[in-house]
Every structure is written in C-alpha cells, then in structure tokens.
Amino acid sequence: MGWYNKRLSKSIWVFHVSASPCNNCDIEILDLLTPRYDVERFGIKLVGSVRHADVLLVSGVANNKVAPKVKYLYEQAPKPCFVVGVGTCPASGCCFKKSYNVPGKVEETIPINLYIPGCPPKPEAMIEGVVKLVEVLNG
C-alpha cells in the first residue's frame, strides 16, 4: 500500500465541516485556501461534496444539535478518510467547555486523527499539521 499512500498524500481533497465553532477558525481555514498560501501546489483542494473528500477539517465543539450531523457526514465519506481537528475547540472544548449544550469531546462522536491547536491556529500551523499527516501517510 506504500505506492497508494504516496498518491493519497499528494492529492488530499479537504471538506470543511463547521461543527458549531465561533467562526474564527473557519475564517482562518478560508485564509489557508487563498492564493497567498496556495495549497494547490501540494495537491490540496477544497471540495464541496463529502463524497469526494479525503480529509474532513472539523472546527468547533460539535454541540448537541450538530454532533449527529457530524457523525452522519463522517459515515458518508468514502474511506480512507482522515479527520483533522482545527483549533482548540475540537481538542479540549476551549471556552465552550462548560457550556450547557456541549455533549463532550468531539472525539467521542468521530475519531480524530490529528489536532491543530490554536485559537485560532495560523494558516502556517495548519500547513504544518497537514505536512505531519502526509509524513504519517508516507511512513
């Protein structure tokens, strides 16, 4: 599978799952996809349908209302599919930790492969995170 993983690591199509964040991480993700950072040179592309996705970029805490939808989206994505938690929210709950409508960690809803902490993380940090994912794929 080494050959296939190499192809996969060179062509990562991301799908943006906004699971009740404060919206700041989403803005940073959009920054990442602008011409200034140009992630297309690594083969990373934003796709609109979860059926085409290789990586789900999850931002936010996944509150009671959103958590089932996030789970559904993950189930609908074709495997192999990786989940990247963007921001401190999916990692620990951040400032929404004690909120009444947060069921728990995102990890309890879907498995998360990689965390990119920061509130919000810079686009450079996200690129580094994706590079780490690629390194894992390449073995």
Binding site: R7, L8, P35, D38, E40, R41, G48, R51
Partner: protein, 309 residues
Amino acid sequence: MKIDYIFYLLIFPGLLFISILGLLIGWVDRKVSARFQFRVGPPVFQNFNDFFKLLGKETILIKEGVITIFIIAPFIAFAMIVLVSSIIGISLFYSTSFGGDLIVVMYLLMINSVMIILGGSSTGNVYSSLGAGREIKLLLADELAFILICLVPIIKSGFQLQLDGIVSSQIQYGSYIGSISGFISFVIGLLCIQAKMALPPFHIPEAETEIVEGPFMEYSGTLLAFWKLNGFMLYVTFPFLLILLFWGGFNPEGPGIIWFILKYLLIVLLIIVIKNTNPRIRIDTALNFFWKYASVIALVAVVLAVFGY
C-alpha cells in the same frame, strides 16, 4: 487490418494517447489558471495522482434511485469519448476514415452530455437532479450553434461528410479559417466547446458554489475518477475537432508536427483564457446568448459559405 484497428483504438489516437495527453493538458489548464491568480500551481503529475487516488478510494453506491445507470453512465461516456477521439485522430493522423463521418461524430459527442444527465438524475439527490436539468438546458442551448458551424466545412468542401475528405480539401485549397465564414464559425465553435465541456463561463451544471459539482455530487471513488478523466479527455477531443474542421488538419511532412502542436496549444490557451476571465452566467443568459446571437451569427456564416466567402 483488424489488428490495426485495435492499435488505433487502444494505443495511438485512442485510449492511451487521449487519456495521458488529457491528464497532462489538464495540468496545463490548472497551472495557467494558477498563474492567472498569482499562484504557483500544482506539480506536473497532479492529475495522475488525483486519478490513481480516486481509483483506490471506496466507491459508495446509492440506496435509492437507478443504480445500474448510476454505475454504467461514466463508463459509457468514457467509451464514447475514446471512440470519437479515435475517429477524429485517425482522420487527422492517418488520413483515412474509420467508418464514421461528421454526423456520427456529432452524435457521439452528444452522448457525453446525455450520460451526465442520466447519471446525475439517477441518484435521487436534489442537487444532482438540478445539475442534470441545467445540463439539458445547456445542451439545448449550444447544440444548434454547434450543428450550424459544422455545416460550414461540409459546404466548403463540396458537400463531403467524410472527415478525411474535409482534411484533404483543406490541404488542397487552404484552411477554412482563412475565409470569413470559416473564421466566424471557428470563433463560435470555440464558445460552443466551452459550453460543451461545461467550463466557465458556462459551468452552470456543475457550479461548485451553489449546487456543489451538480451531477457528480453523489459519485465517489472509481466512478468519480472516470468522470474526472472524461472531463480532461475532452480537452483533447474538441480542440482536435476544431483543428480538423477549420484549421487544416495535420501535415505529416516537414515542420507540420510543430505547427500542429502550436495550433493545439493555442486553442487550449484560448479556452483557458476565456475560462479565467469570465464569471459564470445564468442559464437564461446562456440560452439568450446561444439562441439570439451565436446561432444567428453561425447561420450568417453558413449563408456566407454557400456564396463562397
């Protein structure tokens, strides 16, 4: 003779050649588009990586809807594009006819759109059916102008329908693009193939921003890989057809091959420039454009061709 045909279909102007050249030209498209936006752009083998990655992913089938059509649509479209590219390629490179004339080519080219419509509407997804509906309207819009401009080389070559007849008449009397009617129909043809390939400004069926890839939304894995490959192969088929019909075909002697490559790259570059400098238009604007202006101009070109201009 039979062995020759298998070689034609599978290797040289057929499957292998078209798919590899298509993926490479797809890279040119992405790279030039990236330079338009002051980006660096993807590496050369990006499309190959995408294609092989998609081949290895899980293919999710639909639960409701017509599953047979869902599965066979991309493969039929793929087979038809390979066939039509072989017919065009054999007339270009070997100056023989492959049992098909211009009418067959026009029908086969339409099958790709028909398959997109069938595949999109078989899924039962709202966005996919919206995209399929838009594809029907776009097909209705551009088909009339496309058929009219295909009439011009037929008339100019003395009512020949065979592709090699059109090429040899151009080699004898000069390319049709040098005449007024030929030039007009070449320009209209460029716009028509833009619509047939569903590229901006006519990417109404797959509009990523509103109906997220439209007909292809439910496709994943291998089936999606073939849809993507089909899209890239059209980057070869349509410019070859334009060169064959209006721009003198392919001359195997001397610098002919360099001229051919330059002509091909120029047409692809024009397509990319149009693609990158125009925003998407609405479906009614597209119909308006093709029926009110493009078809009328194409009709004028046909009349001019009849009078020998």
